[in-house]
Symmetry: C2
Subunit: 311 residues, 2 copies
């Protein structure tokens, strides 16, 4: 089956008309009409086999995740997703694989109103690059650089589940389904991100681990973060692990959480409560720089770095 037919067959149906799509898959470029008075939020992420996902990962889960990690970036900006471009590098043109991949990607795309408008496929070591464009009101996007000392630090959901799932899969070949879902089918926090516009002073999504990503937010904002380990939201499974092993590594630096970490000035805490965003306060911004995590006795935990793609 020729490359062109592959694209047409599996992805054309993911490109509905409307939503500003003037011309979708099948020309040299997609043509899109942005609504007037909106800024664009653009993100591009690549997932590489053996690096971002295990080689035998279910293609349906991979299709989901390739879109989810980009949606998570838009969630962290408070943007509304609109259009996607997909570049697939495959060792071979396997119809069953492609059908499952398209199903996983398509289901999530439909739920969030994303139209797949173009891209390419080629042969090579398995990798997925996905580019996503979102829309946001000018000047209203959530950025990393607006936090100030005294702002509270919050996270959505729970931390460390995906990292624990990955370790179980690697060491035991299996992981409990709820943990595994967190690794393979992360749910981007789009609704939460949009609700935080006008409330959060800064926001980032947790892809490389809390310490690394909150560290980026600190660097961009020119201040530091003081986090209390006892406040970190954990699933029962992860809490058991931390208590049994006394190791906070997966919680603080495991990566793949795809939760939002954001800061809120004291004057907007009521607005946060009224917003209905489910979240946990884990600490507060302080003068200086860097991320320090303290145990219940007020002792600093050993410093932990996030996932570094070249480490």
């Amino acid at each position: 089956m020729a490359e062109f037919e592959l694209i047409q067959r599996f992805f054309a149906e993911l490109a509905p008309r409307g939503q500003g799509v003037e011309l979708g898959v099948g020309d040299d470029a997609a043509l899109l009409r942005p609504p007037p008075g909106r800024d664009l939020a653009l993100t591009l992420d690549t997932l590489v086999a053996g690096r971002h996902f295990l080689a035998g990962t279910d293609p349906e889960a991979l299709g989901h995740k390739a879109l989810a990690v980009n949606l998570s970036d838009l969630a962290a900006m408070g943007a509304e997703p609109a259009w996607a471009l997909l570049s697939l590098t495959l060792p071979e043109a396997d119809e069953h694989w492609l059908a499952a991949f398209a199903r996983g990607l398509g289901e999530l795309a439909r739920r969030h109103g994303v139209a797949l408008v173009g891209g390419d496929t080629c042969r090579g070591p398995l990798a997925v690059s996905l580019q996503l464009t979102g829309l946001v009101e000018p000047g209203k996007a959530l950025r990393r650089d607006g936090a100030e000392p005294g702002d509270g630090i919050f996270v959505t959901g729970t931390l460390g589940d995906a990292a624990l799932a990955l370790r179980r899969l690697r060491t035991e070949g299996t992981a409990p389904e709820p943990l595994r879902r967190r690794l393979e089918r992360p749910e981007p926090r789009l609704e939460e991100g949009r609700s935080l516009v006008g409330i959060a002073s800064a926001c980032i999504d947790l892809s490389d681990g809390l310490v690394a990503d909150l560290g980026h937010l600190c660097d961009a904002s020119g201040c530091g973060a003081r986090v209390e380990a006892a406040r970190l939201p954990l699933s029962a499974e992860v809490r058991r692990e931390v208590e049994a092993r006394g190791d906070w590594g997966e919680v603080l630096a495991g990566g793949d959480d795809y939760e939002l970490c954001f800061t809120v000035p004291p004057g907007r805490l009521e607005a946060l409560a009224a917003s209905g965003v489910a979240c946990t306060r884990i600490g507060e911004m302080v003068p200086g720089g860097g991320v320090a995590v303290f145990d219940e006795g007020g002792r600093p935990l050993p410093s932990l770095r996030g996932y570094d793609h070249f480490a």
Copy 2:
């Protein structure tokens, strides 16, 4: 050196302020403000080592080419390039390699007013994904689907040079510099593309070979193409090869030309002449479908397919 520093160090300088860039490299997404009343043209292409370029390719040339192939897509739409996102997959974080890659990409980006506004890097088999956004007047983009029987078929530049260079490099380890430049440093036909707006009835860029790409134009337009081999514009080097070997393969199906192939209705031929676009008439659109190429005696050449990434 950490991933984050790599991006900051080598690519931040490629993201000038202005041109609608509200926020460039360094947040979860880039924030861009499109000028009012313009459509967006979006393209995404991946180059994989050993597939789209030889493993030992000069990184400066690769940086150039990764942007050039996407610029060529925008040229074929008659769009004006604006913003790029880059995703680099590298076997190792080699500073010299990155500096050269950034130099090659940066030089071409500056010439065409492209701002690099985001992306990511990760470790894995060498590959480059680049996404480019261009601007075009609503309804004015050059598409593939507007050709009609009777329209003349034109190409810019010469065909087959890159394919001949690739064969020479593979078989002899070297190729004459002018040929090699066509392979490694293609010059996208942006000015020509913009000049053809309002003149060409359809347009495509030649990345997979004339027969394959003109075939896509025929499919989209619902008609056929009759091409005369004797009219095809060839460099002296390629002409010598064709005459010596009697093989039109590299000219018709070699790929990597990055010239524009476009159609012009009879009533707009004068406008084409007045536009100053340097091009060669190679045939005309006919009823039916598919691409047929005829020799000087009016005999059809054997059918040739373009480069299929899964063939």
